[in-house]
């Protein structure tokens, strides 16, 4: 199971990146993907209890989250552009460090949460230790949107990754 998924994960990018479909190139791709998948499958998938069904369900639920995240990225870029170009920049910003504890438990959801915080308007993740997040916020308003105070993003991530069934 682990080997198959690692092989597919390596072989599909090979097909896309090589762009040549004669026996020689595909053969080399199969050999390389097999060897790397054999050696590195435990690195790619450290825990083996994830089933294919769970994985595909997560992937499907991840797509609407991606759309929401992309919209947030657009908003955050407009925000940065506005602050960077305003002549009275120092009045607009009041940076501060914020610490909070998160409810998400799995590693993948913590990774997604950290990267989402970085990509949403006015906040950047500085450090993640155990379940404590250290976040730098550009404005008071941005700090109030963090999971410590309002849990919209956290709720979405839990919905995507941790809800069973």
């Amino acid at each position: 199971m682990k080997f198959t998924s690692a092989f597919i994960l390596l072989f599909l990018p090979w097909l896309v990146l090589s762009g040549k479909y004669d026996p020689l190139h595909i053969g080399m791709g199969i050999i390389c993907s097999t060897l790397v998948a054999l050696w590195c499958k435990d690195l790619l998938f450290p825990n083996d209890h994830i089933s294919f069904k769970k994985f595909s369900k997560r992937t499907i639920r991840f797509i609407p989250y991606m759309c929401w995240l992309f919209w947030q990225i657009v908003l955050s870029n407009i925000h940065v552009l506005k602050v960077a170009l305003s002549p009275r920049m120092n009045d607009l910003i009041s940076p501060k460090m914020v610490q909070f504890k998160t409810d998400v438990t799995e590693e993948i959801s913590m990774f997604v949460l950290a990267n989402s915080i970085t990509l949403t308007p006015g906040t950047v993740t500085v450090r993640v230790e155990e379940k404590r997040f250290l976040v730098h916020a550009l404005t008071e308003k941005a700090a109030s949107g963090l999971p410590g105070e309002s849990d919209e993003m956290e709720r979405r991530i839990i919905k995507v990754f941790e809800k069973e069934n």
Partner: protein, 106 residues
Amino acid sequence: MEYAAFFFIVVGLIFFLGTSIGLLRFPDFYTRMHAAGKGDTLSTVLILAGCIFAVGSQGDLNWILALKILLIINFVFIGCPTATHAMMDAGERAGAKPWNKKGENK
């Protein structure tokens, strides 16, 4: 197609300009990383999307090339926030003090 390519690349460049100006104008390390980490992601994605359309406008749409660019977009999407993150963490460990309104640059 041509207009879509034009639109995406110009918008991407505007965001890149904003990022660069922000990088120069913000008061301290952390706020500068705000500008760098966010602007980079979206503007790179937009410019690469513009490249897909630019290739498409030249007659035959090359699907393999479009897929390759999509792979790059995917990588930028994951890599950019992670790199920002690593630099913020390194700065915090090295003892960079966050700027605040009262004690200018302390």
